[in-house]
Amino acid sequence: MKTEVRKICMLGDFAVGKTSLVNRFVNSAFSERYLSTVGVKIDTKLVQLVDRQVKLVLWDLAGSDPLNGAAKSYLMGTHGIVLVADGTRRETLDSALRIHQHAESLIGARPTVLLINKADLEPQWQSTQADLQSARQWARNVWETSAMTGAHVEDAFMALAGVER
C-alpha cells in the first residue's frame, strides 16, 4: 500500500501542551513535567486511514511566538497545522489566532485544526462558550483535548491526516 508522508507543524503559545499532545499521540504517554522545547523536536507517526496509510512527520516548535526569527523556515512544505491553545489561559487563544494568521501570511492557507487543550482542568477554564464559538469561525476544526487523559487527541490528529491534499 502506498504511504503518503505529511509534514505537520505544532503551533501555539508557550506551555499550552504541544509537546505533551505529540507525546500522547505518538507514545500514548503523558508527563506532568514541563520541559520547554528548544528549537524543534521531531516525531513521526504512521496513521492507518480507510483507504491508505499516512505517515505524519510532526514538527513540534518552541512556544511563545514560534514564528519569530529562525523558526519561520520550519514552516516550509507544511501540509497541515495543529494549533494549540490552553483552555485555562484565555490569552493563549488570542495568540493562537495571531500565530495562525502569521503562518498563513508566510505559507498560505493550510489545513488546520485548533486544539483547546487541558480539558481535564475544565473547572479552571477561562475560555467561555462565546470564545469557542468565535474560534470556530476561523478554524473549522476545533477540538477540546487533554494530553493528560488523551481525550480527543487521536481524533484531532486523524482529522488532519484525513484531509485530502
Binding site: 520547554s36 528548544v38 528549537g39 516525531d43 529562525a70 523556515s73 520550519y74
Partner: protein, 554 residues
C-alpha cells in the same frame, strides 16, 4: 590592646585554650583549602552524589531547564556560538588535520616496512613519481556510503533513501526532518557566516555530508575517508534527480524514479572501487611529454600575448601618424604584419618601426598608396608641387589653402596655373587663396626701394614698412649672396639754401641708415651712403626721399 585587656576579653568570650585554638585554626585552614580545591573536586563530588540518583537530578532539572530555556529565548547567538565548534568549518579543518596526521603516520610506519607489498608500492611510487605515502594511502583507504537520503528542502520530507546494509529500525523520516531543521536553524540564525549552509557533520564514526540542490538535498552518511570523487558523483546524481523527476521533488512525494536513481548510484559508486588499476606503461614518459606540452603551451601563450601587445603598440603609433590607415596584427611566431594604406608623403614605415623599437625584419608591411586628406600632408603636397620661393607661406586650415607672401610675377602665374590644374591634389571642397604680391625690394629686379620721409629727416609710416621689408629680406633663412651691398642715396628738393639742404640730406641718409641697422641689418651690408641735395631751386615732393639700391660687389 594591652595584655590585661586581652585577658579580660578572652575571659568574657570564654575563648578556648591555646591547644584548642590551634585546632580551630587548622580546621578553618582546611576548609579554605577545600574551597580552593573545589573545582578539581567537584566532578568527583558529583559522581559520588550519583548515588543520590534521581534526587539530585530532579533537583537540578528545573534550574537547568530554566537556564537553557532562557538562553534559547534571549541569548540565541550565545547558544549558537556554543554549538558552532561542533559543526561547520571547524569539522572540516579537524578532518584535514587528522588526514594530514594520518599520512605522516603512514609514511613513518610503512617506510620501515619491507614487506613484499611495501616494496611493490615503493616501486609504484618510484615509477609514478608520487610520494610513497600517497600511494600507500590510495591502496589502503576505502570508504563506504552507508546511508543515503534524498530530502526535500524546507519541509524536510524524505523522498528516497538507500542503505548499504539493512538498516536497524531507525526512523529515516525523523532523521531527514531533523537534519533539515538543523540546516534551517543554522542558515537562519546566521550561524555559519560565509557558509551558506551546513555541509558536513561528524556523527559517531560516520561523516554526514549534505549536498544542496534547488528542490531537495542529498544527505550521505559515509564511513571511511571519501575522496572528492564521491562529492562529484553525488552532485551529479542530485542533478539527474532534479532533471528526471522534478515534480516529485516539488510535490514532496516519494517516487519510483527517484528510488531507482538512488539505488543505481548505490550499486555503482556506493563503495570505493578497487583502486589498483593497471598503470599505463610508461607513466614517467607520459608525464614528461605532458609537461613539455604544457610548457610549450605556456611559452606559446606568453609569445602570443607579448607579440599581441607589440602589435597594438605599433597600431597606436601609426594611428597617431597622418597618412596611415593601417591595421597591425600578429601573423606568426614573433611576426607582425601591417596591412592598409599609406600616403607616400607620410612618415616612412621603417622610421616608425625604429621608433617603436621593433626589429624591421619582424614586420611585413603590405601598404598600398593613397592620398590622405590630412591637412598636414596636403600642405606638404602643395608645397612639393608649387616649389614656392622662401617668402611664400602655404597653410591649410578650415577648408582654405592659403598661399601668401611675396613672389615675382613669373612664379605667381605658374602657381596660379598649377593650382587650377591641381584639383587632383587639392580636394575640391578646399578653397584656394593665392595672395602673393610682387616683392617691395628685389635686388635681382634691380629696382631701388624708396623710403619716404617728412619735411625733415623723420621716416614716415610707409618708409618704416620699406625699411622692414629690406631687412626681412636680408635676415630670412635664405641668406642673400655675400657680395650683396646696399647703397643709400638721400635727396632733398631745391627749397632753401644749398648748404642747409646738404645737411638735411645727410641727416636723412643717417636716419635711414640708423633705421636699417636698428631693424637688424648687418652693418657690412651697407656701403657709404650718398647725400645729394637738389641744386635746382624750387619745391619738389618727389625729391623728399631716400633710395636704397642693391649693389653686387665682386
Amino acid at each position: 590592646m594591652s595584655g590585661e585587656h586581652v585577658k579580660r576579653l578572652r575571659d568574657l568570650l570564654r575563648v578556648p585554650d591555646q591547644a584548642s585554638q590551634d585546632e580551630l585554626g587548622e580546621r578553618v585552614g582546611g576548609v579554605e583549602q577545600q574551597l580552593e580545591r573545589l573545582p578539581e573536586n567537584l566532578p568527583a563530588a558529583l559522581r559520588s552524589a550519583d548515588d543520590l540518583g534521581p534526587r539530585l537530578a530532579s533537583a537540578l532539572e528545573q534550574p537547568v531547564a530554566k537556564a537553557v530555556e532562557g538562553l534559547a529565548r534571549n541569548r540565541r547567538e550565545l547558544l549558537a556560538n556554543a554549538l558552532f565548534p561542533v559543526l561547520g568549518p571547524a569539522i572540516r579543518h579537524a578532518i584535514t588535520e587528522a588526514l594530514r596526521g594520518l599520512v605522516d603516520n603512514l609514511n613513518r610506519l610503512l617506510e620501515s616496512t619491507f614487506s613484499a607489498r611495501g616494496l611493490r608500492w615503493r616501486m609504484e611510487a618510484w615509477r609514478s613519481g608520487m610520494p610513497y605515502a600517497q600511494v600507500a594511502l590510495r591502496h589502503m583507504l576505502r570508504y563506504s556510503v552507508d546511508h543515503l537520503f534524498l530530502i526535500q528542502n524546507g519541509s524536510g520530507l524524505l523522498l528516497a533513501r538507500a542503505h548499504q546494509s539493512e538498516p536497524q529500525d531507525n526512523d529515516s523520516d525523523a532523521v531527514a526532518a531533523m537534519l533539515t531543521a538543523i540546516r534551517e536553524f543554522m542558515r537562519d540564525s546566521g550561524l555559519a557566516p560565509g557558509e551558506a549552509e551546513l555541509r558536513q557533520v561528524q556523527v559517531g564514526d560516520h561523516v554526514l555530508r549534505l549536498y544542496p540542490g534547488p528542490e531537495g538535498y542529498l544527505a550521505a552518511a559515509i564511513s571511511g575517508v571519501p575522496g572528492g570523487e564521491v562529492d562529484a558523483s553525488l552532485a551529479e546524481l542530485l542533478e539527474a534527480m532534479h532533471r528526471r523527476a522534478p515534480q516529485a521533488l516539488i510535490d514532496g512525494q516519494p517516487d519510483s524514479e527517484l528510488d531507482e536513481l538512488l539505488r543505481a548510484w548505490f550499486s555503482h559508486s556506493g563503495r570505493s572501487q578497487e583502486l589498483i588499476k593497471p598503470d599505463s606503461r610508461r607513466p614517467v614518459m607520459g608525464q614528461i611529454v605532458l609537461g613539455a606540452l604544457i610548457l610549450l603551451g605556456l611559452v606559446w601563450c606568453a609569445e602570443w600575448l607579448w607579440t599581441g601587445a607589440e602589435a597594438s603598440r605599433l597600431q597606436r603609433q601609426l594611428s597617431a601618424q597622418p597618412g596611415y590607415q593601417a591595421q597591425v596584427s600578429r601573423v606568426a611566431w614573433r611576426q607582425l604584419q601591417i596591412v592598409g594604406l599609406r600616403d607616400p608623403l607620410a612618415a616612412i614605415v621603417d622610421a616608425q618601426l625604429d621608433l617603436a623599437g621593433l626589429d624591421r625584419a619582424r614586420v611585413h608591411s603590405r601598404l598600398r598608396p593613397y592620398l590622405s586628406l590630412d591637412p598636414q600632408l596636403l600642405t606638404k603636397r602643395v608645397r612639393q608641387m608649387l616649389r614656392p620661393p622662401d617668402r611664400v607661406q602655404i597653410s591649410m586650415a578650415g577648408g582654405v589653402v592659403r598661399v601668401s607672401g611675396y613672389a615675382d610675377q613669373e612664379w605667381t602665374t605658374t602657381a596660379q596655373r598649377l593650382l587650377r590644374a591641381w584639383s587632383v591634389v587639392i580636394p575640391s571642397k578646399w578653397e584656394v587663396q593665392l595672395e602673393v604680391e610682387p616683392p617691395v625690394f628685389d635686388p635681382i629686379a634691380d629696382q631701388p626701394v624708396i623710403v619716404e620721409l617728412n619735411r625733415g629727416a623723420e621716416i614716415g609710416p610707409e618708409g618704416r614698412l620699406a625699411v622692414e621689408e629690406i631687412v626681412t629680406w636680408f635676415t630670412e633663412p635664405a641668406q642673400p649672396a655675400d657680395g650683396l651691398r646696399l647703397q643709400i642715396t638721400a635727396e632733398t628738393d631745391g627749397v632753401g639754401e644749398l648748404e642747409s639742404n646738404q645737411r638735411l640730406a645727410e641727416a636723412r641718409l643717417n636716419a635711414v641708415r640708423e633705421a636699417l641697422l636698428e631693424a637688424g641689418l648687418p652693418e657690412f651690408r651697407l656701403l657709404p651712403g650718398i647725400a645729394k641735395p637738389e641744386v635746382v631751386p624750387g619745391e619738389d615732393f618727389n625729391r623728399r626721399r631716400v633710395w636704397v639700391d642693391a649693389v653686387m660687389q665682386q
